[in-house]
């Protein structure tokens, strides 16, 4: 087990390193002079030279890369061109908001997704099953930012129930979290239904039914339990999607999370913030996948054994 964990951790570190290299290469072959971008066109030659030297742009690219990497090890992602704030700090501050949004989206997805999935599987073939399953296909296909706007129109403007933007109150989080979660409500509902139906015909479930265990207990105790592992897999695998989806949702609801910070950095061409944001988000994804992988190996020994062979 320890060997497996060490192997996965080393792999994860290599992946993060590769992501850093690729991001750095993509963003630093950028045409145009970053110093001119910071100072504006009217700066005189001496100032430009000085700032260029200060920021290390006069050094060759590979030296710049190793400098960046060295600072990265100390969680220093540089400073923003414009606000002069340390990138890591502003990213971490924004991330607390984003992770709140992501977790609320997951909470919605779990509650509604499992409920809909259970209803659909119990009422298999009935109208409600068909209705839920066809709605869920639409839910999977709809872009989250569009769902967000539709929710704004329905709940914010027509019904006037919830605020449509800004604010950090709980009610201001409901629509964004629901919009971000829609896709996962739909896919969790489908997975729940499929894995429950798989188990309902099994011998041990029939035995339980024959013994007179109530239908409710069979559904929850046996069938739903079987659906949990695929649901957990989905949640782990989709975290990256939720974090990038959050970019779009934050834009719709003007929430100043990590997504909005990233998007703003693109529009203002604030390279250190964008570079930092990509590495930050990607690293979080890699860590989550690593944790999911390791927890699997705990649950299912076949995974780590298969890997060692």
């Amino acid at each position: 087990m320890r060997k497996y964990i060490i192997k996965r951790v080393v792999e994860a570190i290599l992946v993060v390193f590769a992501i850093t290299v690729i991001t750095f290469i993509i963003l630093n072959v950028i045409p145009g002079d970053p110093v001119l971008l910071i100072l504006g066109d009217r700066a005189d030659a001496n100032t430009i030279e000085m700032v260029r030297h200060q920021m290390g742009f006069d050094k060759p690219l590979h030296i710049q890369f190793f400098n960046y990497l060295g600072k990265l090890l100390h969680l220093d992602l540089g400073v923003s061109y414009f606000t002069r704030e340390a990138v890591f700090q502003s990213l971490s501050r924004a991330f607390t908001l984003t992770i709140k949004l992501a977790l609320s989206a997951y909470a919605f997805a779990l509650v509604f997704g499992i409920t809909f999935g259970v209803i659909a599987s119990v009422k298999r073939g009935k109208f409600i099953d068909k209705f839920l399953m066809s709605t869920s296909i639409i839910g999977i296909s709809a872009p989250s930012f569009w769902v967000a706007i539709i929710l704004q129109i329905i709940f914010g403007l027509k019904l006037n129930l919830l605020p449509i933007s800004g604010g950090e109150s709980v009610s201001a989080f409901i629509l964004p979290a629901f919009a971000l979660g829609t896709r996962y409500i739909a896919s969790i509902a489908r997975i729940t239904r499929t894995s429950m139906l798989e188990i309902i015909g099994q011998d041990y479930v029939r035995t339980a039914e024959a013994k007179g265990v109530s239908k409710w207990r069979v559904t929850i105790g046996h069938a739903l339990r079987n659906a949990l592992l695929p649901i957990i897999t989905l949640i782990g695998a989709e975290l990256g999607g939720v974090l990038t989806g959050s970019m779009l949702i934050e834009k719709v609801f003007s929430i100043s999370g990590i997504g909005k910070l990233t998007v703003d950095s693109i529009l203002s061409r604030d390279m250190p913030v964008l570079q930092g944001a990509i590495i930050y988000i990607a690293t979080i994804c890699v860590i989550i996948y690593l944790l999911v992988d390791i927890s699997y190996a705990y649950i299912d020994p076949r995974i780590r054994l298969g890997d060692e062979q």
Binding site: E11, L14, V15, A18, I19, I22, T23, I26, L27, V29, I30, P31, I137, I138, I140, S141, A142, P143, F145, W146, V147, I149, I150, Q152, I153, L157, G240, G241, L243, T244, M247, L248, K251, V252, T262, V263, I266, L267, R269, M271, L274, Q275, I278, I281, A282, C285, V286, Y289
Partner: protein, 303 residues
């Protein structure tokens, strides 16, 4: 093999190649018959074909010039004159949706075309040569699938600048990992087959094995992966355009229309709703056709 193809193969009994071709035909015609029975998938295929025709002949179908501004007709609700209403410059939304279909479909198809070439090449190299080639490519696959590739797409577009050509490149260059992983697995299995071994032992070059034996065997997998990759490319295009990183004004993309419509959700909600429905219809159709193709071509892929 059914009676019909048996009759045909008799005709070419002495030429091995012809018989083999005939076998492929049998496989694909069988698959097509399975697919044709799938009513939902056929309906969705029809929708895709219809939308493609409308997109290709956009000038013929669009009632107005998509970029013609008319300040007198600003932000109108749907009416007989403007079926889907007008936007903040008085441009006809239906016409912009029709022209937007060109963007969505071309981004979907071209980026997946690029991705499938890269993915096939990488997958075959890894699966066929094994060893350190496999290690490097597998590592790259791991890197590209361990976080959402749209992040790299954003970085690429930040550098290259927005625009449709750069969307093709960014989405195409970055979405190959999934295809490569599937092809790699398939090639590793195929490599153990006797006829491939026989070809190698008889001195068949690597290129010959790849083009003559591996490619035809991978085509059905590729068709399914490309069909299922198109909708996610379309969603990503819409997302990038929504963020202002896609096609640039005055060209219309469904994602950028949704973005532009945001200030007007109070006065003209249909402006926001319609482009989203267009996205859903296309994405849904490709997903269902892709699933149908998978069931028809390769039931084993259904994992």
């Amino acid at each position: 093999m059914d009676i019909l193809s048996l009759g045909k193969s008799k005709k070419y009994d002495f030429e091995n190649i012809e018989v083999k071709e005939n076998n492929y035909k049998g496989y694909y015609s069988k698959s097509f018959r399975i697919f044709r029975k799938n009513k939902e998938a056929m309906l969705c295929l029809f929708i895709i074909v219809a939308i493609s025709v409308v997109a290709i002949f956009a000038p013929f179908f669009a009632p107005y010039d998509p970029n013609a501004q008319s300040l007198a007709d600003m932000l109108q609700k749907p009416s007989a004159k403007h079926l889907f209403g007008t936007d903040e410059y008085g441009r006809d939304i239906l016409s912009r949706i029709i022209y937007g279909a060109r963007i969505s479909l071309s981004v979907g198809v071209i980026s997946q075309g690029i991705a499938s070439v890269i993915g096939f090449f990488m997958g075959v190299m890894a699966g066929y040569f094994g060893g350190w080639v496999d290690r490097i490519i597998s590592f790259l696959i791991q890197v590209f699938s361990s976080f959402p590739y749209i992040l790299f797409a954003i970085a690429l577009i930040f550098v290259l600048g927005p625009g449709i050509l750069n969307l093709f490149i960014a989405l195409g260059l970055l979405s190959w990992a999934n295809i490569a992983r599937m092809i790699r697995g398939q090639v590793m299995q195929l490599k153990k087959k006797e006829y491939i071994e026989a070809c190698i032992i008889n001195g068949g070059s690597g290129l010959r094995v790849i083009m003559k034996h591996l490619l035809p065997n991978c085509i059905s997998t590729m068709i399914v992966l490309i069909t299922l990759g198109i909708p996610s490319a379309i969603i990503n295009e819409a997302a990038l355009s929504f963020l202002g990183l896609g096609v640039q004004a005055p060209a219309s993309s469904w994602g950028s229309m949704i973005s532009l419509s945001q200030p007007y959700i109070r006065s003209n909600p249909s402006y926001s709703i319609i482009p989203g429905i267009a996205i859903i219809i296309v994405v849904l159709s490709f997903n269902i056709v892709g699933d149908g193709l998978r069931d028809a071509l390769d039931p084993k892929m259904k994992s």
